[in-house]
């Protein structure tokens, strides 16, 4: 394809003479050859179409739940992942050079890491200053002399690259402790391949998936015991971490359980996963928790994210951690100026990829240089701590500059000065056209037994605005797909069979951590609680607005019964039981709105949904993408319905209808798509249990005290509506609403999926399948409880239910329901005690 002239295209507004190097245009305003196809294709599509496809890709990423920072935190902004539709193409020829430079750098950093936690020859020989290492918070003395199996201590590595004005690619920084971004890179690629499939296929772009095969192989290679397929777990700080999405995504993509610190325990010199079926040994940990937080016994004692004793197990060689604890020492920017010397020492080579010019202030000459040139440098601490940021000299006032000079002089060994460069620009979609934006590229490597592998591609991030500004996800950077162009077409392999070296342990993968089971159980309960509450609310609103007859005492009594039912069912006391209920019962709109919308109120619909989404997010790795999309929609809806509380109750109906549909979609997907393992079992137990409790509570509120027949008839009508059982009732019992038939349908009919008998029967089946340690033929605690519940219903006599005492109470009905309620609550407690015990949290002695 012949190079196009910029003027023929929709890129014509793109400035052809930008100050720094532009990735797309050469100095003469001509499109570079490896951009030609991409530009041509984007041009053919036209910006309008590209904008549409872009929106589509953002929607996809959103629906897949790709987020960067705190999820669902009311204080944090819920920031969906941003993807620009223009990728960064890199020519095959240039990539050969980048790849070689990255491989060399990874080998070099690996040798440094091995040396620093081994002989420390580099310090003795003066190739690395002692102060640079020993002053760094990432140099963990407790990790001294610990080694992983094999040649590689640095298993995962990521480098941030950018092109300087001299057209060379420079390394700006090294990520060596728990590099993030590879999962986002893969998600970007998936989104791009959905919205621009032809373009991606025809551009001959290298695939990313083989990198993840290598990651599996690399993790297997460091396992302590090489005789068996190792059991790997992904250790995350939890759902409040900024990159939790990626932890969950990688865990599920790689087929490893996602665990938090207290899912693991140390016994007998090994690490174990606390799963439902007991302790399962863990051989390899893919770590996304910062090293200082991994073991409260030997590292930070205030950490709640770690596993006490973990470091000792690693020391004994019984668990391999990737990256090993202590590897954050390499993220020290002060090491950069010493790399050329070390490369000569270890490899006899010069660096193929230069580092950005860096001066470590721990040396007198360098200190003076930084002090005199501070206004044009970037000042960085050697150790990243919360609250300590890099500063750009050119942005500082005179006053601030002199403060920084003093700060550096007081503690020179803690700072470096770095050259401030204008990096190359890449076109980004802005409004209806394309504008140049400075760009950074993060590349990913993993060590396999035979050497490092580079992901052919990476995570490109571009500045949200024009000019020289720091680029980071925290500060609103926008990501791009990265295309390494192959010389021949890339075939998608027809077989999905993974390479043998990347096998994962099938027994281990079925291991459901107790915490995950706990969360799933509550997803079931909250989903049902939300649905049950919405149904009753909806029936109540209907009653209130359709043919209200507020002068009629029969209407009023049945309405009041419903309103009290709302309070009891949602547990939003005092509600309609408040000390002066008359006013409230007279105009209930405000209270009902609050029960729908007030998220701070425990038991409200908004609150149940929020809890549902939070429990669901904590086990993000277990949901199919369709299921996740539904959950996401739920949260979206929740967030949108929050701000305007002034909506009227009548208008709430749409909102509630929509939520019911979403909740039903969720249950449907779970029923249809989730394998019937322990996860599903706990979810369905949660559901059935909650549905039973709600039903019992509703029936007791409505019918324990006998009311006028006409009132009860109206109540029956509303409650049938609530349980979506009206049609079913009519088929069986015609149009006459009467209590015996109603109770039979909702309590005793084992064929009605909304009846109590049906729930109990399901629960009885489920609890028999729970992983028990059997004591002969004896029933488990859970089985005993459900046997009693089932007997109560089997032996129940409708006539006895209807007997009314002198003080107008249906004693038998009330007592039986109360006993059932007790049995079911006890079931919940027993399950919690038997399966979800995480123990108390650790604390320092």
């Amino acid at each position: 394809m012949k190079p196009q002239s910029i003027t023929e295209t929709q890129f014509q507004s793109y400035p052809s003479n930008v100050n720094s190097y532009d990735e797309m245009l050469d100095g003469n305003g001509q499109v570079r050859p490896h951009w030609a196809y991409l530009m041509h294709a984007l041009n053919e599509l036209g910006t309008e179409e590209v904008t549409l496809r872009h929106k589509e890709s953002l929607k996809l990423l959103r629906e897949n739940g790709v987020t960067y920072n705190v999820y669902g935190d009311p204080n944090g902004t819920n920031r969906p992942w941003k993807l620009d539709p223009v990728p960064l193409p890199i020519s095959g020829d240039e990539w050969v050079g980048i790849e070689a430079g990255l491989l060399q750098r990874a080998e070099l950093l690996n040798l440094i890491l091995t040396d620093l936690y081994g002989p420390r020859e580099l310090i003795r020989k003066g190739l690395l200053p002692m102060e640079l290492v020993y002053n760094h918070g990432g140099f963990l003395r407790a990790c001294d002399q610990i080694r992983l199996n094999g040649r590689h201590q640095l298993v995962l590595y990521a480098a941030d690259l950018a092109r300087g004005p001299d057209q060379k690619m420079w390394v700006l920084g090294d990520r060596t402790q728990a590099p993030s971004g590879s999962g986002y890179a893969l998600e970007n690629r998936l989104a791009m391949s959905r919205v621009l499939p032809t373009l991606l296929r025809n551009a001959q772009v290298h695939r990313l998936e083989p990198f993840f095969q290598s990651l599996r192989a690399g993790l297997n290679a460091i396992a302590p015991d090489q005789t068996d397929v190792p059991r790997v777990a992904v250790l995350t700080p939890g759902p409040f971490n900024e990159t939790f999405f990626e932890h969950a995504y990688l865990a599920s993509h790689l087929g490893y359980p996602l665990v938090q610190g207290d899912d693991l325990t140390v016994r007998d010199g090994h690490v174990w996963l606390k799963s439902l079926t007991g302790l399962q040994r863990v051989d390899v940990i893919l770590r996304r928790v910062d090293d200082n937080y991994c073991d409260p016994l030997e590292l930070r004692e205030d950490s709640r994210l770690g596993v006490p004793g973990l470091l000792e197990v690693a020391r004994r060689g019984n668990v391999a951690i990737a990256n090993p604890l202590g590897s954050s020492i390499l993220e020290n920017p002060g090491i950069q100026p010493f790399l050329p010397g070390i490369a000569q020492h270890f490899l006899g080579q010069s660096l193929k990829l230069p580092s950005i010019a860096t001066w470590w202030c721990g040396q007198p000459r360098e200190l003076e240089y930084v002090i005199s040139n501070i206004h044009q440098l970037v000042i960085k601490p050697i150790y990243r701590k919360p609250g300590v940021r890099s500063v750009f000299g050119h942005l500082l006032s005179k006053q601030e500059l002199s403060e920084w000079r003093a700060r550096i002089r007081a503690n020179p060994a803690f700072f470096v000065g770095q050259e401030h460069e204008s990096f190359s620009t890449v076109p980004s979609l802005v409004g209806n056209g394309y504008e140049p934006r400075q760009t950074l590229l993060r590349c990913f490597l993993v060590a396999r037994a035979e050497g490092y592998t580079v992901m052919p591609g990476g995570l490109t991030r571009s500045a949200p605005e024009k000019g020289d500004i720091p680029i980071s996800n925290q500060m609103g950077g926008i990501s791009k797909d990265t295309w390494v162009i192959a010389s021949e077409p890339q075939h998608v392999p027809t077989s999905n069979k993974p390479e043998h070296v990347g096998d994962s342990n099938p027994n281990h993968n079925n291991a459901l951590p107790s915490r995950a089971a706990d969360n799933i159980f509550w997803v079931g309960r909250y989903a049902e609680r939300a649905e049950g509450s919405i149904r009753l609310l909806r029936a109540t609103i209907k009653k209130l607005y359709i043919n209200p007859d507020r002068d009629n005492p029969i209407y009023e009594d049945s309405l009041h019964s419903l309103l009290r039912g709302v309070t009891n069912l949602t547990g939003t006391w005092p509600g309609f039981f408040s000390e002066d209920p008359e006013v409230m019962l007279q105009s209930p709109d405000k209270e009902l709105l609050s029960v729908v919308l007030n998220e701070q109120r425990s038991g409200s619909i908004a609150n149940s949904l929020r809890c549902l989404v939070q429990s669901g997010f904590a086990v993000r790795d277990l949901w199919s993408s369709d299921t996740w999309r539904v959950m996401d929609e739920m949260e979206d809806h929740l967030n949108r319905s929050q701000p305007h509380d002034e909506g009227t109750l009548w208008h709430m109906q749409d909102h509630l209808d929509h939520l019911i549909t979403t909740l039903c979609a969720f249950s449907g997907l779970v029923m249809e798509n989730m394998t019937r393992g322990n996860g599903w079992l706990f979810l369905d137990i949660g559901r059935r249990l909650e549905r039973s409790l709600l039903l019992i509570s509703t029936l007791r509120t409505a019918f324990s005290v006998r009311q006028n027949d006409a009132v009860e008839t109206q109540l029956i009508e509303s409650l049938l509506d609530t349980s979506d059982n009206t049609i079913c009732y009519r088929q069986h019992y015609r149009n006459y609403f009467e209590l015996p038939s109603f109770l039979e349908l909702l309590l005793l009919d084992t064929n009605n999926p909304r009846s109590l008998a049906y729930q109990i029967a399901s629960l009885q089946e489920h609890v028999a399948k729970l992983p028990h340690t059997r004591h002969g033929l004896r029933l488990s605690g859970e089985e005993r409880l459900m046997l009693e519940a089932s007997s109560i219903l089997s032996l129940a006599n409708l006539d006895d239910f209807l007997v009314v005492s002198k003080d107008n109470i249906r004693e038998n009905l009330d007592q039986q329901l109360s006993r059932l309620y007790y049995l079911l609550s006890t079931l919940s407690e027993t399950i919690t005690a038997d399966y979800f015990r995480h123990g108390s949290s650790p604390q320092p002695l």
Binding site: R141, L297, G309, E312, G839, P844, L845
Partner: protein, 293 residues
């Protein structure tokens, strides 16, 4: 001199502790002036996973867990140690000046000196502040021999500061100690170390025990002794020299060394993580018995 040291640490919890993980630096290390005849830990309830290793600083560390639920937990270290009184009679007024030592530490590439150099840096409990540097400066006058300066620093700390166990906790920063002129042996050791480091010199923290002799005519009280701390300063060609600012003494044969490091944080006698327990009561007793020569 031979001693038997019994160091007992007991915890009583208000609630059951499910399990615990522990690290003890209670077994004395071997060093040039002391020989370990025997040393062991007695742990109750029974421990699991017990292993001894050497840490970054060469100290003995015992790792163990207590897997069974308990309300009481005790660790007793029992050691028999031979101390050789330092025969060397150093004249503090002679020897290298502190400036010479500083330069040697900066430039000399010999392994031993490089190893000592790490003790010139700040550490988690000891951060050099201007007030600390100013306090040190009085003793480190131009051209003064290092040992003379350090000896005077020790005397000044002994004179200027009041031993007050009520005043400080582990979390009391050095600046508060300096401002209020109060503290315990740990604080005085930290203060001396910080002063010495502020001059670009190497100093480290030593934990151990001291034999306290009974008052004339009285029985020595069992358990009246506590674990102790002092500091050590590095002098090239000679090595590490101990000083005890709490007692204004150059240790000879009454100081028993357990471990050393940059500061207290590196040599905590007993660390642990427990599950459960809620509140606890702690009792520590140390008994140093003289067994003869």
């Amino acid at each position: 001199m031979r001693y038997r040291v019994t160091h007992k640490t007991e915890y009583e919890y208000t609630e059951i502790v499910g399990q615990s993980y522990n690290e003890a630096r209670l077994l004395p290390r071997l060093c040039y002036h002391q020989n370990i005849i025997s040393t062991h830990l007695e742990i109750s309830p029974r421990e699991a996973d017990y292993r001894i290793r050497e840490d970054f600083f060469g100290n003995q560390v015992a790792y163990f867990s207590v897997p069974e639920p308990h309300r009481e937990f005790s660790v007793t270290a029992i050691s028999e140690i031979q101390i050789f009184s330092s025969a060397q009679q150093l004249n503090f007024a002679e020897g290298a000046s502190w400036e010479t030592v500083k330069e040697t530490l900066e430039k000399d590439r010999r392994r031993e000196i490089q190893d000592a150099r790490q003790y010139t840096l700040d550490s988690p409990f000891i951060e050099i502040t201007p007030s600390l540097t100013a306090y040190a400066k009085t003793s480190f006058t131009i051209g003064r021999p290092l040992l003379e300066a350090v000896h005077e620093l020790m005397e000044r700390i002994y004179r200027d500061f009041i031993f007050d166990p009520e005043f400080t906790t582990l979390a009391t920063p050095l600046t508060d100690v300096l401002e209020h002129r109060r503290g315990v042996c740990q604080d005085f050791a930290h203060l001396a170390i910080g002063s010495i480091r502020s001059q670009g010199l190497a100093a480290r923290y030593v934990s151990g025990y001291i034999e306290t002799l009974p008052a004339p005519g009285k029985e020595k009280l069992v358990g009246s002794d506590a674990s102790h701390a002092w500091f050590s300063v590095y002098l090239p060609e000679v090595g590490w020299m101990d000083f005890d600012p709490t007692n204004n003494q150059v240790p000879s044969d009454q100081h028993i060394t357990i471990a050393w490091g940059r500061d207290y944080g590196d040599v905590t006698p007993l660390k642990g993580v427990i599950f459960g327990g809620h509140n606890h009561e702690l009792k520590v007793s140390v008994e140093v018995e003289r067994l003869g020569h």
